[in-house]
């Protein structure tokens, strides 16, 4: 953190406009270069590029299902087809769903799930954590007690309970995950802000007459945000992992083109030797989550020098 902070003008020198002292964004190219030197980060990025390409070009890879893009097409003439069947290169499910369709369009489902949940939780978490950390006092006390309570329930179980009460649907999985994941961000940003606001450059900003809001917006927040970026990257993977677990248990709509849902559909066939449905779709959850973990780890190494070499 310390190296990105801005020092106020030494006494005796002409006052420099605060804008000129801010270094936000300048280090980006340098950071990107050092992140890309790490082979595991590169591996993560490579997997991500493939999956993202799959999500973006899904209609070109597998024709869209006319009755709904994220709905598994059903071919009742070819149920339980093994991989290599003409028209179904990765086989079909017990309900005649094409596994390849589920894999390709499932990438879109996962992208939608993770982007929605991560953006909601980052905004809510950062807002709550900022209130606590920047204003302090009563707000801080209240929020931290709330955070303690939320962190007393393991996150999968918490999300499972919420999704169960709301009823099985993909939208409810999103809601449940959002309700659970914001807490981490609130805690991280609060801790960061408590540290950053003790810096001299914050006092300096007040001295030159900046308003509280401007000090927060221009000085405190930008210098506190990096751990949030790292956490958000890791959570892009984690949200899909937990979301897939919920839909594996049976909390998504039946027939949704989602990887966890597919594993659940393939589970019943395993005893009869039909391994392909669960294997391929579960592998996608693993690769998705692995690649975000690798990239998140790489980001942490370059953004947070304290953990370097770990």
């Amino acid at each position: 953190m310390a190296e990105s902070t801005v020092r106020p003008a030494p006494p005796g020198l002409p006052a420099v406009p605060l804008e000129a002292l801010r270094t936000r964004g300048l280090r980006f190219a340098e950071l990107a270069r050092s992140a890309l030197r790490n082979p595991t980060t590169l591996l993560g990025l490579a997997i991500l590029t493939v999956i993202f390409a799959m999500a973006i070009f899904a209609p070109l890879l597998v024709p869209v299902n006319p009755s709904g893009a994220l709905q598994m097409p059903r071919n009742w003439g070819a149920t339980n087809a093994p991989p290599g069947t003409p028209g179904h290169p990765l086989g079909t499910t017990p309900n005649g769903g094409d596994v390849l369709y589920g894999i390709v369009w499932g990438a879109r489902t996962s992208l939608r799930l993770s982007l929605t949940v991560v953006s909601i939780t980052v905004v809510v978490g950062v807002a709550m954590g900022s209130l606590a950390g920047f204003l302090g006092g009563k707000w801080d006390e209240l929020l931290m007690r709330l955070v303690d309570v939320f962190l007393s329930i393991p996150e999968l179980i918490f999300a499972l309970a919420i999704a169960a009460v709301l009823g099985p649907s993909f939208g409810n999985i999103i809601l449940a995950l959002a309700a659970v994941f914001w807490v981490k961000y609130a805690r991280i940003i609060r801790g960061q802000i408590m540290q950053v606001k003790q810096n001299e450059f914050v006092d300096a900003a007040y001295v030159v007459g900046e308003s509280r809001w401007n000090v927060y917006r221009k000085d405190v927040l930008p210098n506190s945000i990096t751990p949030v970026v790292v956490q958000a990257t890791l959570d892009m993977g984690h949200v899909v992992l937990i979301g897939a677990t919920l839909s594996f248990i049976g909390l998504a709509e039946a027939g949704l083109a989602e990887w966890g849902n597919l594993v659940s559909e393939g589970q019943s066939g395993i005893a009869a030797g039909r391994w392909w449905v669960a294997t391929f779709s579960g592998l996608m959850v693993f690769l998705w989550s692995l690649s975000f973990n690798l990239v998140g780890d790489g980001l942490r190494d370059v953004l947070d020098p304290r953990t370097e070499g770990r």
């Binding site: 329930i153 999968l156 179980i157 009460v165 966890g260 395993i270 030797g273 579960g282 692995l290 770990r310």
Partner: protein
Amino acid sequence: MQIKDYVIRRLLTLPFLMFGVSILVFGISRIGGSPIGIYIEHEMTQAQIAEVAARYGLDQPLYVQYLRWIGGVLRGDLGWSGVSVAPVTEMLPAKLTATMELAVFAAIVAIALGIGMGTFGGARRNKPADHITRVVSISGASLPTFWFGLMLLIVFYLYLGVAPLGRADPAIYAGLNHYTGFYTVDAMLNLDGRALRDAISHLILPAVTMGFSAMALIARMMRSSLVEQMGEDYVDAARAKGLPERLVIRRHARRNALVPTMTVIGLSWGFLLQGTVVVELIFNWPGIGRWMTDAVLQGDQATIMAYVLVTSVIFVTVNLAVDVAYAYLDRRVTLGA
């Protein structure tokens, strides 16, 4: 702050924390609206519905409903479990023991392998062994438990035929005395070798599935803290006096590296508790996790609330114990900060 004061302070906050958790759990159960749907049927008249609502206190304001519920919980009444068709409190002990047996085994697997692997990798920094440790520990955090379990089933149950499903072979277990409810312990107390082998063979796959992500977490922490310790002066001193590298690690570096690993072991209890839900579903294990998934699919709120409450009590207690142990082990920790 003295350690004693710290422990007392943490113990004092515990009831407040649990009070908060109970409100949260009650809140979750009401976000879907009134739970009256479970108790009424289509052909009921408005008057009959009102009568049902009055019987269960659902016509009262929310805080009264909460007080009724929490009062029951404190007296040991967790409600009626629809999936078990019995009171929750009656079903809970047997299911909890089944889960605890599995969790303890998974924890043993996770801690032993995690510390072993972390030490192995950390002592060979940047060598192939270290890279393997890193890959395993990163993939452990990314591995979907439900998929890993199914893959193990495909290999060991389907193709190799060496692993059984469920908790035990009923034919073997019918003749045993059940002293503790832990099948492995009961088998030992009965001096029955066949039953012990049976119990352990049923435990291995689910325990490995459940413990894998916790193992990865522990291995990772162990590795990085060992790497850190190996750079300290006392390690050089131990080497200088001619101690073989193996003993330098075992007697000196590993002991100190274990201290930060403790916190992660506490954290990994969260993983284990979460794991029960999916692992018990896949391996047909008759514990609280399977009970929860049944309850979730049938909308059985009493069971869901009981499960969440019990899990979080275990989670919070274990975390408290770990924090206290950590405070004793590492006197540099600033308490109460």
